[in-house]
Symmetry: C2
Subunit: 312 residues, 2 copies
Amino acid sequence: MIITVTPNPALDLTWHVDKIVAGGVHRAETGRARAGGKGLNVARVAHAQGAAVRALATVGGATGGEFALELRESGVPNVLVPVAAATRRSIALVDEALGDTTIVNERGIAPTGDEWRALFDALGEELVGAGESSVLVISGSLPPETPVDILPSLILVGRAAGARVIVDTSGPALLQAADAGASVLKPNAAELAAATGLSDPIAGAQELLRRGVELVLLSLGADGMLAVTGENVVHARLDAPLAGNPTGAGDAAVAACAVLMAEGTTDPETILRRATAWSAAAVLMPLAGDISDTWPALEAALTVAPYAPKDV
Amino acid sequence: MIITVTPNPALDLTWHVDKIVAGGVHRAETGRARAGGKGLNVARVAHAQGAAVRALATVGGATGGEFALELRESGVPNVLVPVAAATRRSIALVDEALGDTTIVNERGIAPTGDEWRALFDALGEELVGAGESSVLVISGSLPPETPVDILPSLILVGRAAGARVIVDTSGPALLQAADAGASVLKPNAAELAAATGLSDPIAGAQELLRRGVELVLLSLGADGMLAVTGENVVHARLDAPLAGNPTGAGDAAVAACAVLMAEGTTDPETILRRATAWSAAAVLMPLAGDISDTWPALEAALTVAPYAPKDV
């Protein structure tokens, strides 16, 4: 069983506009509303690939109602903890002429103390029933003014229940997650440098391993992904980068890792191949939380080799 | 009594972003959600200035629920007709660095035949109780696939009940509104040229008068406004244009006209002065549907004179 926790979920709204003109007035077809936030994207991908998953999130207000309705229609099993503050919105304007997407993410509003406790209670119940090889995924931002012990506590609860814990976060929370017992972290090079103060991403990843992490999946964007463990560094990449929508690519990588670990697979190279393939397969899809059915061909086409950093 | 009909209402969502970068990811505080559409803006302004008003609109879906909740909290008296399709959204991204606003308006979904009939029934009931000097305001776009007789029928229902009818529309609907008996129309020069095929705005306005309109309020943007009647053309303007948010300025002009007519005032120059002052006072406010309390000073500062078109 995979349990995803999304501490700062969002109602994702997407509009497609012919060409965005700053300061202009545009007409658009009805936008797409979707239950979003990184943990939801992970749950969607894992669910679509047949994994047993439970998406855990808070919901509040009219936006929370829409979030819950869409999530129910999606078929992704979920547990939603009601909170007083309205679920935040995330806005994506897709410029059809340029192909780029302008995103505005509301920061969100932190749950109250009682609401955090209700989320922990719900998580505890799910972990009790999760069984062998369970995986806890904690993904995405924390709302402003979240108490500093929330992320470590979520990780500790997961570890205490015997689950592997995958954390997708950035900033100071990255080191905090390593110290609290995260099994897998998935930063990119910039996030790693910002958190560790080490400009060399391999050295940064090794700092996370030193703090107890088993595996660091280090995203290199279009240049693929590294799996860094205490033993070695392996690099997976496609020969040519794919054009498309990179939003949700990292979530697909986390989903791959979670699905394999929930099946009992912990071999870093196997995880790296699947994570890189699903990440690329996410780029081919217009919405975060979906991956292309062509992922097996992408996985077969990967070049996987010991990492040889290019000269900078 | 002023009754506003908004055939294509919208949940207006506004976010303030430090500086919008195309293709970038931005963080923002929680956006403002407001019951919108031009008719709602007219009703808000009239209500805030103490006029008896009733805002009539359709609402559907989760966005409609949020629309209804916000409208109730605003205190503007309203009659909402439930429809199956979700109320559309209108998105405004305010670039705090540049001061400009990028707008994306969903086109909206037309009510069904039964739902249009329910809207007409509700309008009929309001008109029966509206009393002397009642004014019907029909503002804003019509949803795609709206039957072509809807706008003329709304106008005819208003006229049959003895109301003056103010219509704020554009495109072919402008001539249609004139033919159906609209009392006042409020196009800008470009809308008038597009609808009448006449490049001279005075000639365009006179074409509307020829079809039976009493008064054309012709917006000139920062250069003020004209009142065109069968007798003369009067021009009102501020000596220096105001910097601010022009969204909703036209709605404030319509509100001024509606409030005066509901008080029994039909003098075109009096209406022109108030409409120009409220329009300018709307530019000073961040949200459409609000006008600055300083409007009496703006009205006093207006230059009002017979119209002398500048050389082009």
